[in-house]
């Protein structure tokens, strides 16, 4: 093994990842080459130094800021963003609640319709009913025998005084 080939194995030797044959060949070379032996020791020292380098942690709030950006990318509406951020089981509950509200609304409308149609049939029979009381035909803005009725009657006859 020459020095060039040995140099290619220095990193693997320092990190202990050489195969048996490479390890033996390099060892034989290092025993006879003081220059390469010194270079390997330098590599070992540098490796220790590099591993002592600090690891920088992500700044506080990193994930919060990132997820805000990602939710904006997804096009979720800002005001109701929390709805889209819900886990799937909560979304199912949310859908069930909306379905329940819609069902109750439809049911209430059906109930009212029934009451109205029932009221009309009663009106035909001359009985007081919900529709009768709500109908404009039955609204009398000036009750008979009232002061206003007398005034209007006099006006129609040309005898306001």
């Amino acid at each position: 093994m020459n020095c060039k080939r040995a140099g290619e194995l220095f990193a693997g030797h320092v990190d202990g990842v050489l195969g048996e044959s490479e390890k033996e060949a390099l060892k034989a070379h290092l025993d006879s080459c003081r220059s390469c032996a010194a270079a390997v020791e330098g590599q070992r020292h540098a490796s220790v130094l590099a591993r002592s380098a600090p690891r920088f942690a992500a700044p506080k709030g990193f994930s919060t800021r990132l997820m805000r950006e990602i939710r904006e990318l997804d096009g979720a509406p800002g005001l109701f963003g929390w709805l889209w951020a819900m886990p799937p089981h909560m979304k199912l509950l949310e859908a069930a609640a909306i379905a329940l509200v819609v069902f109750m609304g439809v049911h209430s409308v059906g109930f009212l319709s029934e009451r109205i149609s029932g009221g009309q049939s009663m009106a035909v029979n001359g009985e007081a009913s919900l529709v009768a009381s709500m109908s404009a035909e039955y609204l009398d803005p000036v009750p008979p025998e009232s002061l206003a009725d007398m005034y209007l009657t006099a006006g129609e006859n040309g005898n306001e005084n």
Binding site: G7, P54, F62, S63
Partner: protein, 187 residues
């Protein structure tokens, strides 16, 4: 590749943002650390954020074989190289390190008693020296020695051969030793 990660990735693919957030929390320090060493303090956070956004947008392209760790590392390295190509990007060397916060933890196993003796000041010197390496050498050194990736993982992340990883790592360590020797001679 952790099974839990695969489940989280699958959920995230279906639009489950909280699942993706769990992945972010698990890898944010690793990605930020890589970006911090590759770009310096000014662009590190933006590059780390961009890396995760790219990952989120490309979740459909993710395949379990390299694993999420190698995948997000590759995205982070490529994002940093894109930042480097921007004309507005300033070189790392010469920038102030004041105010940086870092953890005194080491991803690589067994720093040994020699490393344990290094003071905080020495660690900062090493960080500065790593910042003075060329991009190619720094990327390999950061991934292998600081992040503790195997040669195979580093080769996958950088898209280069194992042989290139070994030779660049040797050169990076030689250069680091030279830079630190030079620094210490002047203290």
């Amino acid at each position: 590749m952790l099974q839990d990660e695969l489940i989280l990735i699958e959920k995230a693919r279906q639009g489950d943002a909280p699942a993706f957030e769990e992945l972010v929390i698990a890898y944010q320090d690793k990605v930020f650390n890589i970006c911090r060493y590759m770009l310096g303090p000014d662009d590190a956070e933006d590059a780390a954020q961009d890396s995760f956004v790219k990952a989120y947008k490309n979740l459909d392209r993710f395949t379990p074989s390299p694993g999420f760790s190698a995948w997000i590392t590759r995205i982070a390295i490529n994002t940093c190289l894109d930042y480097k190509r921007k004309p507005s990007h300033l070189p790392l060397a010469g920038k102030s390190q004041d105010g940086d916060e870092y953890e005194h933890e080491h991803a690589s196993p067994g720093p040994g008693p020699e490393a344990m003796l290094l003071s905080k000041q020495s660690a900062e010197e090493v960080a500065l020296a790593v910042g003075r390496l060329s991009d190619k050498l720094r990327a390999v050194l950061v991934l292998c020695d600081i992040e503790g990736l195997s040669y195979t993982e580093a080769a996958d992340a950088l898209g280069i051969s194992m042989g290139t990883i070994k030779s660049r790592l040797s050169r990076a360590r030689e250069e680091l030793r030279r830079l630190l020797g030079h620094t210490r001679e002047h203290i």
